[in-house]
């Protein structure tokens, strides 16, 4: 029976039962549900559950060599998040987190675009509560924006799926290209969740606003689900190589000047996704293995870094670099775990990032793509800058701290300890990671050439940092907002839209007034409608109106 149960569904069911489970048993129950769901990992490959409904054949549960590594790491991430949040009593967040992780795992096992759409929206609807759990006004606003963007991605996916069904009679997950209109819709839908350049604003906007524990959960699933979906449907799509390269390079500049360290990590997350997208774009067995391996190790070290910053936020009350520093004395374990995460993401030899990134770099080198290769090499120096140095340096060192704080709670240390252990274990014994990758490829990351080359890059980048600090060229931390692509819908569109709608409002108002005058004798009450409050009601939702209009126009263009 359990073999036909959709992986992740048990977690969603458990999440709904959490309110009736006593406080002390909630976390064990959550862990148990993840464990039960993880039994599906031993089912092997195949199609296990289909459902005929409304003349459609939905493949609800299928598994193959691409799903398995993602399913394994999603379960591991769920366990880490649950342990990390053991101290928390926030029921809503626990429910949302468990259902979100379950939805993401369910999505991996969908075999057609309609089932994928359902899970796609489920991850959006569950995760918005995690952003919401930040419990500040900023978090609530960010959650609403997040929801609009995420749901839009789902709507685009649905349009693509419908068009595909209409035009080809097929809706199963398959390799698509950008020559078809439905391919483009699905590509953009995935691109939003994968935080493509200019579609990335939601990520840096929402993740840092969530709670101490929420950001850890958010960092693991949504974007990597998009990477999985891209790897399944668009491997070898050339444009992804450039999109990915831009993603690796651009966020590093933003990360340099961002003050909120959790936002720095969100830019860093974006940059990491770039490496994976490049791997999908190349589309060879080696590069796709690289993408999957990178997603796998990335989830662990990114969760570790977000956990360490979560612990800092929990104890010191902020993650703003301008307010932090000197925590190494009070939070020594957190410091060590953070440095392990930092060294992993920077791809130091013997850490997990190295054995994964090497696969993508080697496939680029093997194909002779010199420019992309060096963009990624350059971006590697950028990763070291913001995640390798900036995060640990400003949080734990930089300058002495005046007031004492306590070390992170034991459950946080355990979660960070497990993640740190995995980072090193995978780095030292990469063959276990390579065994679960989709394609059987013989690969040896630890060659002398490769190790020396990478160490030279990293060590001299650190020397550059010391040099810049010594000569006071390193930018000081300033409390500030750094503009990002969310500016377009948070400032520019309201800037154009509000006056425009006001003008239209005034126009209709005067029209109503004139009409009102002419018909005053007949319909004296119609004057009420010309009241300006009508406009006030419509203006706040103009962003939504514009979004829907754009979607509608796109649909019309495609259909015509």
């Amino acid at each position: 029976m359990i073999s036909n149960f959709i992986p992740g569904l048990i977690m969603i069911i458990t999440s709904f039962l959490l309110p009736i489970i006593p406080q002390y048993f909630r976390h064990p129950a959550m862990l148990l549900s993840v464990g039960l769901s993880a039994l599906s990992l031993f089912n092997g490959y195949g199609t296990f559950l289909e459902w005929d409904i409304l003349g459609l054949n939905l493949i609800l549960y299928q598994s193959d060599s691409l799903t398995l590594p993602f399913a394994i790491i999603f379960h591991i991430a769920a366990i880490l998040v649950i342990i990390f949040s053991w101290h928390s009593k926030n029921l809503m967040e626990h429910m949302a987190t468990l259902a979100y992780a379950g939805s993401a795992i369910g999505a991996l096992h969908a075999g057609d675009f309609f089932s994928l759409f359902i899970w796609w929206e489920a991850t959006a609807l569950t995760s918005v509560f995690i952003v919401f759990a930040g419990n500040t006004n900023a978090a609530k606003d960010a959650a609403m924006r997040y929801l609009i963007i995420q749901v839009s991605s789902g709507v685009l996916l649905l349009i693509g799926a419908c068009l595909m069904l209409y035009q080809t009679g097929n809706h199963n997950l398959a390799v698509l290209d950008l020559k078809t209109n439905f391919g483009i819709f699905i590509f953009i839908a995935f691109g939003i969740k994968a935080a493509f350049p200019l579609l990335n604003g939601w990520l840096q906007d929402s993740y840092p606003e969530s709670s101490v524990t929420g950001t850890v959960a958010l960092s693991a699933f949504t974007t990597k689900l998009a990477i999985y979906a891209l790897a399944r449907t668009f491997p070898g799509t050339d444009s992804l190589i450039w999109i990915g390269a831009i993603m690796t390079a651009f966020p590093v500049f933003f990360a340099v000047i961002e003050n909120d360290l959790r936002r720095v990590l969100s830019f860093s997350l974006n940059n990491q996704l770039g490496f994976m997208v490049v791997g999908i774009g190349i589309g060879t067995e080696l590069s796709l293995n690289g993408t999957v391996a990178h997603a796998f190790v990335h989830i662990i070290y990114k969760a570790l870094l977000f956990m360490s910053m979560g612990a800092v936020l929990y104890r010191a009350g902020t993650t703003k670099a301008s307010e932090l520093g000197g925590l190494y004395k009070y939070m020594p374990f957190t410091t060590i775990f953070c440095i392990i995460g930092a060294m992993s993401i920077s791809a130091f030899p013997l850490f997990s990032g190295f054995v994964a990134k090497s696969l993508i770099m080697s496939s680029l080198g093997g194909m002779g793509m010199v420019l992309i290769y060096f963009i990624l090499f350059f971006a590697s120096a950028g990763v070291l800058e913001h995640s390798g140095i900036k995060i640990p340096y400003f949080a734990f060192f930089a300058h002495e701290r005046k007031n004492k704080v306590k070390e992170a709670p034991i459950n946080m240390l355990i979660a960070m300890g497990i993640a740190a252990f995995l980072c090193i274990a995978i780095g030292v014994f990469p063959k276990y990671l390579y065994q679960i990758l989709p394609y059987a490829v013989e690969y040896q990351p630890y060659t002398l050439d490769h190790v020396i080359s990478q160490l030279q890059l990293l060590v001299f980048a650190i020397i550059a940092f010391l040099f810049l600090v010594k000569f006071k060229l390193y930018p000081s931390e300033i409390r500030s907002t750094v503009l990002n692509s969310d500016w377009f819908y948070r400032k520019m569109l309201p800037g154009i839209g509000k006056p425009l709608f006001k003008k239209i409002g005034l126009l209709t108002d005067s029209l109503y007034k004139n009409l009102g005058l002419s018909f005053k004798q007949v319909l004296s009450k119609s004057y009420k409608f010309s009241n300006l409050s009508y406009i006030k009601v419509t203006t706040p939702s103009f962003a939504g109106t514009i979004l829907i209009s754009i979607l509608f126009i796109m649909l019309v263009i495609v259909l015509v």
Binding site: V252, F253, F254, A255, V256, I257, G326, K329, S362, L364, G365, G366, G368, V370, Y373, F374, F377, F378, A381, G382, L384, E385, F397, A398, H399, E400, L448, D449, I452, S453, Q454, L455, Q456, L457, L458, V459, F460, A461, I462, I463, A464, F465, L466, F467, L468, L473, Y474, P475, I478, R479, S480, T481, V482, L483, R490, K491
Partner: protein, 77 residues
Amino acid sequence: MKKNDLKSMGKSFTKYILIIGALLILLDFTFHRHEYFSFAEIYGFPAFFGFVSFVFIVLLGKWLRKFLMRKEDYYDQ
């Protein structure tokens, strides 16, 4: 004493990193480092590339502040 903790840590860290850096460059002379692209095989190329990239990223990022940096409450206004 307390105040010197970070400073002395920084100093010894700098010392070790410089030693490691020097060793890595020296190692380059002891064997032929194979790379995918021949110009990357020049002695110390990754070191040079890492140093220059890092400085470039930081200085360009700093310059971009002029265009990208706003007050903390920018979106609340």
